[in-house]
């Protein structure tokens, strides 16, 4: 087998006395669409944030392609910091709160990193950004300011911004949790189309129906450990763990 897109081994992370991650192992091959589910506080967002080192793990190994980081005691060495930056530009990260840069227009948000981090020519970046905005259905908002967009539109810009980095994998941290219910659909539609393109994706989500439908694999986290890991039909339809069964059935009842 080739080198996995993302490989995480033995990840531990505590905030003070609170052990949030207690040893997580996960491998994502190119083309995998993995949904991460679990109750709030199960550690799924922290796990996702540990991959680009937004949170520095206390111990464990994070590898993106051939780039490997092994932090010790929650501290990155000088070399790890350089690797972290490489890893970040190899990934696209989509936040729950969009986090667009308010002082840049929609287009400027999308071309910022390709030009200033990856050092690509401006004309090429602009052309590509326009295509990406078209893809997420926002080509008419090219010169708008983020504050003038709805939440759903902002999140679609954020996805275009993540795509502009030519990422090897995309990470979504609860991409629809901050949205009004009527805006969730437009964002899920974009993410679904990316899954159909065969992009490698890790998605932390509370949208169970969506997770079951788009992902090739579903992982259930409980108190900082992976409790269930398998094909979505199995995890949602016939889970081994009782906790997972309770969590899943609770969610589907509520959504009905």
């Amino acid at each position: 087998m080739s080198i996995p897109a993302i490989a995480v081994t033995g990840l531990h992370k505590s905030f003070g006395a609170n052990a949030v991650l207690r040893g997580i192992d996960l491998k994502a091959q190119d083309g995998d669409v993995i949904s991460l589910i679990g109750a709030s506080g199960s550690g799924k967002s922290t796990f996702l944030r540990c991959i680009p080192m937004l949170e520095v793990p206390d111990s464990g190994i994070v590898a993106v392609g051939e780039h490997v980081i092994e932090p010790r005691g929650g501290i990155l060495s000088r070399r790890d910091k350089v690797t972290a930056r490489t890893i970040r530009s190899e990934l696209g990260f989509v936040f729950q709160g969009f986090n667009l840069w308010p002082h840049r227009t929609v287009l400027e948000n999308v071309i910022e990193a390709p030009i200033h981090v990856q050092g690509r020519p401006r004309a090429e970046c602009v052309e590509e950004a326009e295509a990406l905005l078209d893809k997420v259905g926002l080509s008419d908002k090219r010169d708008a300011w983020p504050v003038h967009l709805s939440g759903g539109q902002q999140q679609r810009v954020a996805i275009a911004r993540a795509l502009a980095q030519h990422p090897r994998a995309l990470l979504f941290d609860e991409p629809t949790s901050a949205l009004d219910p009527e805006l969730v659909g437009e964002v899920l539609k974009v993410i679904r189309s990316l899954a159909e393109e065969g992009r490698t994706m890790l998605i932390v989500t509370h949208e169970m129906g969506f997770a079951r439908e788009v992902s090739s694999r579903t992982v259930f986290l409980h108190q900082g450990l992976i409790e269930e890991d398998g094909h979505p039909d199995q995890v949602f339809g016939n889970p081994v763990s009782d906790r997972c069964r309770a969590f899943v059935s609770g969610h589907f009842q509520r959504n009905r």
């Binding site: 680009p52 937004l54 930056r85 490489t86 970040r88 530009s89 990934l91 990260f93 936040f95 709160g97 969009f98 986090n99 667009l100 840069w101 308010p102 002082h103 227009t105 910022e112 990193a113 200033h116 981090v117 990856q118 010169d143 708008a144 300011w145 983020p146 504050v147 003038h148 954020a158 911004r161 980095q165």
Partner: protein
């Protein structure tokens, strides 16, 4: 009204304008650099204490005392008199400029600090996650956002400094206020002369307000409901 007298006074006072503008610009420049330094110092614990004390002392005492302390006070130290700095510190111009810059730094550092605090954490994370280095995040995201946030308060600080330069007239400098004072002792027509000087300062501060407003609209059009 004696228009001939007034226009004569007005022209006379305008000759002090270069000094007033010079002191305003240079003290803002020096104070701004020191303010940035004070904010960088706040990263460490000791630096934070030093910066906080600096701000406390310079904001807690009148500028006039600071000017006198530097102009009259420092001269009473033999060490100062014999040092290489003496050629500067004996000149009222350099003493005034030094006091103004030190004073401005205390206020500007607080304005900058407020601006830095207002930068949304999410925007910073989005920068880091796109692979930017710490310096690049600072240069392309944190500082531009902090400056936009701090601009209205900073335009007030510019006006404050413009007004504060009038105090150097107490250490014999002939800025607009100093010249007005001299003319009053010569002619005893205090009302007309001081009003003339007031008009000059007023015009300058209105200019600053206008300029800052223009800059704010240019830098952050999204705050004014304009969709580019």
């Amino acid at each position: 009204m004696d228009t001939e007298f007034l226009s004569g006074i007005f022209l006379k006072l305008l000759t002090g304008l270069p000094l007033t503008l010079n002191l305003t610009a240079l003290s803002l420049l020096g104070g701004g650099m020191l303010a940035l330094l004070l904010n960088l110092m706040r990263a460490s614990r000791l630096g934070n204490t030093i910066a906080a004390t600096y701000v406390f002392v310079f904001r807690g005492t009148p500028l006039l005392i600071q000017i006198f302390m530097i102009y009259y006070g420092l001269a009473s130290f033999d060490a100062v008199r014999s040092s290489f700095l003496w050629p500067f510190l004996r000149e009222p111009y350099w003493c005034g400029l030094l006091a103004l810059a030190l004073n401005d730094a205390a206020y500007t550092s607080e304005i900058l600090r407020g601006g830095l605090r207002a930068v949304p954490q999410g925007a910073v994370e989005a920068g880091r996650v796109s692979g930017m280095s710490r310096i690049m995040v600072m240069r392309r995201i944190v500082l531009p956002l902090a400056m936009r946030q701090a601009l209205p308060a900073y335009s007030n600080e510019i006006i404050s400094m413009l007004k504060a330069t009038a105090l150097v007239s107490t250490i014999t400098l002939l800025d607009v206020t100093g010249l007005a004072r001299a003319e009053v002792s010569a002619t005893y027509r205090a009302v007309e002369i001081f009003l003339c000087a007031a008009v000059i300062y007023l015009a300058l501060s209105l200019l600053v307000t206008r300029g800052a407003g223009w800059l704010e609209r240019r830098l952050s059009p999204y705050k004014f409901g304009v969709s580019a």
